[in-house]
């Protein structure tokens, strides 16, 4: 994957598959500590301990079209190749938390990339799921939550083109604001 935002899209889709109703994505950039932490959490069906233990193996998958699943292994590779790693906590019936840690300035760390694109792609694929996106830069937070958007929209679906465009621009502006104030 060229950007971490693509790994995030891919891993969050596992949460969709796990029938989560709420998915959290948190990116924490801490430049003084030289850390980048990405957390994807959901309230989906969770995994058994036995499945968690073998989910990093590319030959583990739930899909039926083929026998490999590269999502978790690729995310783990992205983290471990730059001095970090991947943790998975999961409980049947409660949900899953996937945490990836990176050395911020490691030469092999992929850029974060287009997060507004990842969030709008997730929403357009699953307009009934609530997504919370928190982006922290050196302690300053930007928070976007579809639950709030949904409230304003009344019955209008989130996957309407005008709404998705608004969300994309809203997040882009929020992240630009962070970059300006957080450095």
């Amino acid at each position: 994957m060229k950007e971490l935002s693509l790994n995030i899209l891919d891993i969050a889709k596992n949460s969709v598959k796990a029938e989560a109703t709420r998915i959290g994505i948190k990116i924490d950039e801490n430049i003084p500590d030289n850390t980048l932490t990405i957390v994807i959490s959901d309230n989906g069906c969770g995994m058994s301990e036995e499945f968690v233990n073998r989910v990093r193996d590319p030959f583990t998958t739930t899909r039926t079209t083929r026998k490999v699943g590269m999502g978790i292994p690729l995310f783990e590779l992205a983290a471990s190749q730059c001095g970090g790693g991947l943790e998975i906590e999961s409980k049947r019936g409660e949900g899953t938390v996937v945490t990836a840690r990176f050395e911020y300035d490691h030469i092999d760390r992929a850029p974060i990339g287009d997060m507004p694109g990842t969030i709008t792609t997730l929403i357009s694929g699953s307009p009934d799921i609530d997504f919370e996106y928190i982006h922290v830069l050196n302690g300053t937070e930007f928070i976007f939550d579809t639950a709030e958007v949904r409230e304003v929209l009344g019955g209008v679906p989130l996957d309407t083109a005008d709404v998705l465009n608004w969300i994309n621009e809203y997040i882009s502006e929020g992240l630009d604001g962070l970059r300006k104030s957080g450095n």
Binding site: M1, R66, T121, S124, G125, E148, L153, V156
Partner: protein, 125 residues
Amino acid sequence: MKSLAELKAIRERVQNQMELRSDDTDKTRIVVGMATCGIAAGARPVLNEFMQEIDKRNLSGVSVSQTGCIGMCRFEPIVEVFRPGEEKVTYIKMTPDKVAKVVTEHIVNGRPVSEYTIGAAEGGK
């Protein structure tokens, strides 16, 4: 700055439109493969380009949706187009640049862009 007030205006506009086009029974469906293989090959910008193009041309009765692995990962990004009463058309190795042509020729005018299809790739070996 984008504001929630702006979102309210969008709500009102969309609600009016929804009343105007309440039934889209003859829907054309554009389906983009968005599993790990598709995402890694560049499906996200292709999906977004389709959504922008459909919106720009204000096409009604056309939906853009996502699916998992279609099973031919080497051809990703793969896009399938279903038009009512016609056979499915599978486009392979899609890029955002190819999207406008598919929308104009196929979605609007009903003529599949054969050089982008899986049939063209397999026949050309």
